[in-house]
Amino acid sequence: MGKLSKRVAIVGAGMSQFGRLYPLKRNPDLWVDAWVDAVKSVDNGIEPKDVDATYVGNYSSDLFNHQGHLGPQMADLVGLTPKPASRFEGACASSGIALRQAVIAVASGIHDVIAVAGVECMNELPTSLVTDALATASDALFEYPAGATFPGLYATVATAHFHKYGTTSEDLMRIGIKNHENGVENPFAQMQRSIAEMMQRKLKKLEQQGKELPDWKDEFDYLKSASNPMIAYPLRLYDCSLVTDGAACVFVAAEEVAKKYTDTPIWISGTGQGSAALSIHDRDDLTGFVATREAARQAYEMSGYGPKDIQIAELHDCFTIAELVALEDLGFYEKGKAAQAVKEGETKRDGARPINTSGGLKSKGHPVGATGAAQAVEIFKQMRGRAERNRQVKFDVERALTHNLGGSGATCVVTIYEK
């Protein structure tokens, strides 16, 4: 138990542009863009006849687009019917689950190659209804009637963490600033702009309007101002990830066939999945997520590696507090110690263990069901030294990790990769 019966690799991975793209791009368009990008990334080429099944991660096309049954819809668009095609749902961890299930299916021997899709087109709904659709990933019976919104639940975790460990809003702001700096270097990101640049733009706008200029010394002053409105105390607008349309595609292959597609496959050395009560009030610890700790335990055990062996990671920063808590739940830092490490720059692109080089959900964007697969895309690029622009890390990445969290932490998938 807890071991794959054969080695499984990623042999290609790509994504669509992320952004506010509806109605110019809808789920089928986004998915085909991701597929084409992923096919291009396969060194020796791949064709539909090589692929045995389509595993689609999608959270809520039913609510966002009035469309269910995405498995065959996506398979058909890239020539993969009549082979098996299924959809997997676990809120924001949907395509993390699809990837994990694809790895398990390939390891079982039933399929040699699976196309993992992550797809979500959220902007078909106005923002208020997007928020309401997202809220269905938390508990509709007892949290929602008490007024819980999605940011509200993470904000509640934040107040508990602040209270227990002395964490501050500035600690969270540093995470947003860092992720936006990374997103500037990602041509696929929704917001390719740093917080400093957004501050300068705001100042310029105020100047043009002939208004009195605020006394902002740095990004922190800007982030504490009314230009960054409170959403759910202590989380402000720039603590929240984006509402995004986007798709990603990952080709998972068995060891016997992997070398046919590339000389540099990225091996999946560990996969884990955890769960927790849907309501945060039904969990023992409000300062972290038990589902993450369980998923990480399984993935570390399967891979034989520990937190210290992981050189880079893509973490699920749906809110800045979520990245901070993940740094601790994954064992990268002791509880209450992550904020200091972030402050010292350890998680920056040139730090000891870069986190979210893609820009994360905060800057790259968060098309919820596509996020898990898109995290794997970034790791695939970084481990093969092919990240665009200036965001390739400066060392050779032998081992990496992705952390994909669903809802308010009731589902988590952790994946460990090695060369």
Binding site: S128, T131, D132, A135, D139, L141, F142, E143, Y144, P145, A146, G147, A148, T149, P151, G152, A155, T156, V157, A158, T159, A160, H163, P229, M230, I231, A232, Y233, P234, L235, S279, I280, H281, D282, L286
Partner: protein
């Protein structure tokens, strides 16, 4: 059917709240408490439950002050200028529960302290001519 014989369902739990009673279920075998009620004890796998009336006393475990609220709270009149507090309360009987926190200054969340003692406050909310009782807590 007497109150004690009621099945441990969500509907019965919610009906108690409508009648301004905070009830939970307690496992007669291992003593584990559940609020909202559960029929199956996940601590010892027993179905041997009984209804218990809770004191309604507890402490603030965590909270937030929400400026961009749910459609229901927007209908109740909350907005950016009038935020509301969502909270998690640790009941003195052990379980935690979610509820609106009232009687605090939601516009100044720094004044709200985790650990502060709270007591239950049933909130009568009127919406579209109908009165509904929602679970709330306030400083004790």
């Amino acid at each position: 059917m007497t109150e004690a014989e009621k099945e441990f369902t969500i509907q019965n739990y919610l009906e108690f709240i409508q009648n301004k009673k905070l009830m939970g279920s307690k496992c007669k075998d291992c003593g584990a408490m559940y609020v909202p009620v559960r029929k199956l004890c996940t601590a010892c796998n027993s179905l041997n439950m009984e209804w218990v009336t809770l004191s309604g006393k507890g402490k603030l475990a965590a909270f937030t002050s929400i400026t961009v609220g749910t459609p229901y709270f927007i209908e109740l009149g909350y907005d950016r200028n009038k935020p509301y507090c969502f909270s998690v309360i640790k009941l003195e009987e052990g379980p935690m529960i979610s509820a609106q926190l009232v009687g605090v200054d939601a516009s100044n969340p720094d004044t709200i302290k985790i650990g502060m003692p709270l007591k239950v406050k049933f909130l009568e909310n009127e919406l579209k001519g109908e009165t509904k009782t929602d679970l709330g807590f306030e400083p004790a």
